[in-house]
Subunit: 490 residues, 2 copies
């Protein structure tokens, strides 16, 4: 067994992208691991006639739809392809609205080329479309293009660090309240940026709800230790799948106003809500409706991205943030940061333009577009339901209802013997569980400890934004493994 | 005249992307300015049937070929379009080598899609191709894929800051030697990163050569003031156009070794050398040939990008750096930084792959590819020659020979009266010159002060990586303006 753990530790070390240098060279090794497993996980490459050189490992550590076999949205790819190679604009292969969109976007590019630099915060045309999108989403609440900062992706953490200046050491060191469990990559980003993490717990018993009591409790731990400046919220939640109600958001905003905290609302899963009794409401909208005491004062940054939502285009690198009520000086600091990054990827910007302004009924591309988007939405909702059903039937697993996002984060009630064995190996029981799952079933998932969890509890995060076929195979392996594991340690 | 200066100040304020927040909203205004000028500057949009909505200003402040009307390389755009929309792979519109390349790249993408995240430092397949490219370029000097860090562009400065850690204040604050004149954006990036800039002067009288005497002089200014850790070199130079000889590079490497300085070699213009008696030699190659005392010890980072070179694809955001002899701990720090950026744009990575591994003789795309690249190279060399001829015929202008890069940086010997007038307006005479040039001829160029220059000297940077037609118009306006300006103040 000790051997088995060390083997799977080695496997994880290879497969897992971590921040240590000695792990940099692992990409090649990863392909080798994949070679050792049977091919059963088929991505869109089969449909595209492209053959993958390696055999399958099911890697659900990423919230990356295309990696897990989801297909891109045709309209997105057609428009980008036509912008890249304008000869395609004038052929009948692409619907007329693709051609028109590509022409409009090329007109907005300097020199009519996606190969030219854009303004630091993005193409003004795309900023305007994003502002219109936000305003429509929020039932008419105005959004101003000059508050939209487009980026090539994760400059979030850098921005946070900049906006929290000055960041000294000791009691005046800037602190940021972050959810536990939460998006681990973001947390590790912030750690490298010299910002003090102040964890607040989400309430698992209430479906991972965010409560003001938990925020207050977290704030009390900071006294004399650091100076809390910001509150980071992820809504819909990763890994929890919780979606806040309007009342919950109002409470959080009042709390932020009382405590003079800058609000960072990570809303990248805003169009991935499938609970029948809950819809996404933006912090911006709620804030705007709480009257000038709040709407004119609370500082808010809201994040969104093409990596999630209906297109899942992680590799194109397109995101934006909207800055509300920020001190002009702080805006200047953020702008400086963006200038140092030259300009965001034009291709990511085009994807954002389509996210903001998708085909409408009556457009030639609409039927295909809407069928594809609907298919993805239906698949995600179906996968969540099926996964919850399977998990519900497993001994030692409890799972809160999931309202949105790409993930399910079940609690594992692992047998004492498994916990003893893990302790002996110097790890948490859910880490042992995930090592064994990787080793025995080639399913690569991350344990709860990676995202943070209350002491003594154990979880695993499953990404379910994948094809129905992949999910079926994933659940088959997971179920077989889980039953075996529970039996072995019972 | 005071009015005129203030008008042109206003114009520049509108047109110029700066780091101040109050200038963020200027993009729209910029379009309005452009509207007020006649359309004469035609980019590739005419060929593409795309009409730009605004009239022309010739903006030569950017080293951005497509903005200035240069056409993209077909092979680059075809491969990327086919990767984005794989249906294009299987049609006869694209040559077979485009189809094969797209298939190979898609196999290297997770899930067979450019929409999936890649490894933090890039797709291993692309890293390997870049290593091969570097090794070929350097006559067989080995390059290791794990030393290649692919990025979405300008993380250079951030990396520098990270690699120069710790960076305290006072005499132990990390210092970096930077060229004057130099790439201003890079300098301003570093300034925001808490690194002390230590300028060293390039010798204009010797064609902007980099001399060790000037480096030593710069180093002496740092004693008791900061702790110099790194030496930044741009070869070929921006804005100078100087290309170092092997001997010059050897001298610099010996200096870096003696002074224990980390070498940062910005070599993004490496394939834009047109002097008949000078070829680009990389720092890596020279270092590797200086024997183990140097080749095993001197820390070197070399930068390259698809924004320059033969494709000029600034908007696609693809760059890489190769790290040589770096302390593993420092490599770890750089890797951490890259992890916080998630992953580089997949489209930028594809462009890098093509830069590293372009079509070869015998490939179906080769004739077109090579004709296009040759056309761009010929245009650049022609533009440099013509511009130097025109400048050579103007009173009060001297210009060093230019060997590579996109720019010409002539010295302006401005009349005392112009200098007085500028002083009265609180600016340098070359700034006044550029304001007037913008106001009177709608030519937007930056004065020498933006890049740094010896006190009492004045310059202007002209980007000549544009079409022959644009250049002709640019020189027509520049010449007319210059003669008028010199006459006015004589």
């Amino acid at each position: 067994m000790a051997l088995r753990v060390s083997t799977s530790l080695r496997l994880e070390k290879r497969a897992h992208q971590t921040i240590h240098w000695r792990r940099v060279c692992l990409s090649l090794e990863k392909e080798q691991i994949q070679m050792t497993h049977q091919k059963s996980h088929i991505g869109p490459e089969r449909q595209q006639g492209v053959q993958k050189p390696y055999k399958d490992m099911i890697d659900i550590t990423w919230g990356d739809p295309h990696r897990l076999g989801m297909k891109p949205i045709s309209f997105v790819r057609q428009v980008i392809a036509a912008c890249l190679y304008p000869e395609l604009v004038h052929n009948d292969r692409f619907p007329i609205d693709v051609q028109l969109r590509a022409q409009r976007l090329l007109r907005a590019c300097e020199g009519g080329s996606v190969g030219a630099y854009t303004a630091t915060c993005g193409i003004p045309h795309v900023q305007r479309n994003l502002a219109n999108f936000i305003s429509r989403r929020d039932g008419g609440v105005p959004s101003h293009p000059e508050n939209i900062f487009i980026s090539s992706g994760s400059v979030t953490a850098l921005t946070v660090r900049k906006t929290l200046l000055p960041h000294e050491e000791g009691p005046s060191k800037a602190g940021i309240l972050i959810p536990v469990p939460g998006f681990a990559t973001f947390h590790s980003m912030l750690e490298t940026q010299g910002v003090e993490m102040v964890p607040y717990h989400l309430c698992e018993e209430e479906g991972w709800a965010l409560t003001v009591e938990d925020l207050r409790r977290a704030l009390q731990t900071t006294r004399g230790h650091c100076s809390p400046r910001a509150l980071y919220i992820m809504n819909p939640g990763n890994p929890t799948g919780y979606v806040q109600s309007r009342e919950s958001i109002e409470e959080v905003i009042r709390f932020a106003a009382e405590e003079n905290l800058f609000l960072l609302a990570d809303e990248v899963y805003q169009s991935n809500v499938y609970a029948v009794d809950r819809e996404f409401i933006s912090y911006k909208k709620v804030l705007s409706e709480m009257g000038p005491d709040y709407s004119d004062t609370v500082e808010l940054v809201s994040f969104n991205s093409v990596s999630k939502g209906f297109m899942g285009e992680c590799g194109l690198r397109g995101g934006y943030m909207e800055l509300i009520n920020l001190d002009p000086e702080v805006m200047g600091v953020v702008y400086t940061l963006f200038s140092t990054l030259s300009c965001p990827s034009v291709i990511g910007q085009i994807a954002l333009d389509i996210m903001a302004d998708p085909p409408q009924p009556g457009d030639p591309s609409y039927p295909t577009f809407s069928a594809e988007v609907h298919h993805n939405q239906k698949t995600l909702a179906h996968n969540v339901r099926v996964t919850q059903e399977v998990l519900g039937g497993l001994p030692g697993v409890t799972c809160q209802p999931v309202m949105g996002g790409f993930y399910i984060f079940p609690r594992l009630h692992l047998p004492p013997k498994a916990q003893e064995q893990a302790r002996a190996a110097g790890m948490e029981a859910d880490k042992l569980y995930c090592h064994r799952l990787l080793e025995e079933e080639a399913v690569y998932a991350r344990p709860g400890g990676h995202y943070g969890q209350k002491e003594g509890t154990h979880h695993v995060r499953l990404c379910v934004m994948t094809t129905t076929e992949n999910l079926r195979e994933l659940l088959r392996r997971f179920q077989a493994f889980h039953l075996r594991f529970m039996k072995e340690f019972s």
